[in-house]
């Protein structure tokens, strides 16, 4: 038995998957079933009572989804994971375990626009309050801590501008405040950044982006780092107190260092319901097998495109952390030395109208609201993803009127540069 730590690419192909016990199928089968038969009444009772490991109903767990969960947990270096229907569902399920009405979360101001909406409107309606802090000013997180603070939420590489967050500095604030740090690692993927190594307690992803990678399936996942002691005070009763849903079981006492992932499954997913389709899990698993290859190509292409744009006469600024002069370049070299990701923004001298024109003149780039596809994508955030924000909030979240966001695909970089060049000249 060789006990060595397999490399990232080996884990991306193998972790969680093994030939099917009944058929020997080598690819992970799609267990497209709602439910699973019990061996007998006692087995059923054991499963419902959380006494045995096994499958009951696909809203709570599914063998195809379980392979995806173990694979992402392995890639992130966590103890366990839970796959859900979307990145937004992951955020909902995580916070439901941590917050009661009147509680607060501190969130980085630089977030995906949809997350800003979710926190500001939907979560507000649950009585979960958000205090915004500036990831470029660590003290703003410290100042935002109150006795009601239950978690801190940041993105490793922030949408839309591709800025790099100083995860370790914010992790230190979270530890001092005695709350978990949640990192949305969607834009980096574990190939570029492993937030748990830098102090994250929970990692979430929109699997819809680079992990699935082909723009064909929505999905989300929650990874438990196994690092947070939920029972050290009574701040997290979902994990530390006897749960009436399960005849008085205490989740952390019973499940130890993967208790958070279990709470998300048996209290969150079970009752809120945003289950991932096994078919989507299969598509995303297939995507993950090539994550290291794709992600490197995404980054290399993005750097070439950013370099091209930075010298273009129609462009006033390029925000790409992989460029030597960028304000996030030092953080990129520390946290994401293999590359700065593939999502970044640039500003046009021609302002809002030039942004709208560019998008309509591109022939290879697709104008759509997604990132992390094999195909190159473009969007003008001010008129789309960030249009619900007021002007000041647009600027603060990196989506000013003259800003265009690109998500660079894995095509030939020469073709991408030629397409941008013709569209900027048109």
């Amino acid at each position: 038995m060789t006990d060595r730590l397999p490399g990232f690419s080996t884990l991306a192909v193998h972790a969680g998957a093994q030939p099917d016990p009944t058929t020997g199928a080598r690819a992970t089968p799609i267990y497209q079933t709602t439910s699973f038969v019990f061996n007998d009444a006692d087995h059923a009772a054991s499963l419902f009572g959380l006494q045995a490991f096994g499958n009951i109903y696909t809203r709570i767990g599914n063998p195809t989804n379980a392979v995806l969960e173990e694979r992402v947990a392995a890639l992130e270096g966590g103890t366990a994971a839970l796959a859900v229907a979307s990145g937004h569902a992951a955020q909902l399920v995580v916070l439901q375990q941590l917050l009661k009405p009147g509680d607060e979360i501190i969130a980085a101001r630089k977030l995906y626009g949809g997350s800003i909406n979710q926190f500001t409107h939907a979560f507000k309606a649950f009585g979960w309050n958000v205090a915004w802090a500036d990831p470029d000013e660590i003290e703003s997180f410290e100042r935002a801590v109150t006795p009601h603070t239950k978690a801190i939420f940041i993105e490793s590489i922030a949408n839309p501008a591709g800025s790099i967050t100083d995860i370790e500095a914010i992790a230190a604030v979270a530890r001092k405040a005695g709350v978990p740090l949640i990192v949305d690692n969607t834009l980096a993927s574990p190939y570029l950044i492993k937030p748990i190594d830098h102090g994250a307690d929970i990692v979430v992803h929109s699997l819809t982006k680079f992990l699935g990678g082909h723009g064909n399936s929505l999905g989300g996942i929650i990874v438990d780092a196994g690092t947070f002691d939920w029972s050290k005070d009574n701040k997290y009763p979902m994990l530390s107190e006897p749960r009436p849903e399960y005849h008085g079981i205490r989740i952390q006492e019973t499940f130890g260092n993967f208790a958070f992932a279990i709470a998300c499954r048996v209290l969150g997913l079970r009752d809120l319901g945003p289950a991932l389709s096994p078919f989507n899990a299969f598509m995303i698993l297939t995507g993950i097998e090539t994550l290291p290859l794709r992600m490197q190509k995404h980054c290399d292409n993005a750097k070439a495109v950013a370099e091209f744009l930075s010298t273009h006469p129609a462009v006033s600024a390029v925000n790409y952390a992989g460029l030597p002069g960028d304000r996030y370049n030092a953080l990129q070299r520390k946290y994401a030395p293999k590359g700065a990701g593939a999502v970044f923004t640039f500003s046009l001298k021609g302002g809002y109208d030039a942004g709208v024109n560019l998008v309509s003149n591109l022939k290879l780039f697709s104008h759509l609201a997604n990132v992390g596809d094999t195909r190159s994508l473009v969007i003008h955030p001010a008129s789309t993803t960030h249009s619900q924000l007021d002007d000041a909030a647009k600027v603060k979240s990196g989506a000013a009127p003259e800003v265009v966001r690109l998500s660079i695909g894995i095509e030939d970089k020469e073709d991408l540069i030629a397409d941008l060049d013709q569209a900027l000249r048109a």
């Binding site: 006990d3 490991f53 392995a74 270096g77 796959a83 993967f258």
Partner: protein, 194 residues
């Protein structure tokens, strides 16, 4: 012995070799972790003995409770202690009076007593602290992967179909033989923050 991070081969050899397990602090209440672990290990084919003076006269999965280790009256391979850290030492001292000696002292998730561990190790016993044998068995056999848990093992072999009472293969390839960086960090954080 590094009790912060065990090599998977160490845990594996214990779970592969012990046949009988006395569980001190076993509870007949079916929502207690000890009940879960007792039932799971019994279903995996271990010869389980519930030890708890408060429940003598009752049974756990058909096995009568005994009041103390001395009352078992036959050789036992492993003592699984489901007690708080502060109650570990007397149990270990009692275990060290048994003849023949047990081979393994296992302290449950959350329980750790380094002085007691040293005594047991000095007498030639293997010790595991702050782990659950059910979780470790489920992890090393990858059965726990049904729950999305990172088993930290890989295998290209066809898996056995888990059935009642069957011993699953624990002989999968382990990543690096030990803990993830994260759980090491958790263990370290625990000792840093009182």
């Amino acid at each position: 012995m590094n009790h912060d991070a065990y090599d998977d081969n160490y845990i594996r050899s214990i779970l592969n070799n012990v046949k009988s397990i006395a569980m001190v602090g076993a509870s007949p209440v079916n929502v207690r972790p000890s009940y879960f672990a007792f039932k799971y290990l019994a279903q995996r084919g271990y010869d389980m003995i519930p030890v708890n003076p408060g429940h003598v006269g009752k049974e756990l999965m058909g096995k009568p409770f005994v009041a103390s280790l001395a009352d078992i009256g036959r050789p036992i391979d492993m003592i699984d202690i489901f007690r708080n850290s502060s109650h570990i030492l007397p149990v270990v001292e009692e275990a060290l009076k048994l003849s023949p000696l047990p081979k393994v002292i296992w302290m449950q998730l959350g329980a750790r007593d380094d002085a007691a561990a040293e005594k047991a190790e000095a007498a030639g016993l293997k010790v595991v602290m702050n782990r659950c044998p059910k979780i470790e068995y489920g992890r090393l056999s990858s059965e726990i992967s049904w729950m999305g848990v990172n088993s930290r093992t890989l295998s290209s072999k066809r898996a056995p179909i888990p059935t009642q009472g069957m011993r699953l293969s624990l002989n999968r390839t382990s990543f690096g033989g030990g803990q993830t960086a994260a759980s090491d960090r958790a263990a370290k954080n625990k000792t840093e923050t009182p």
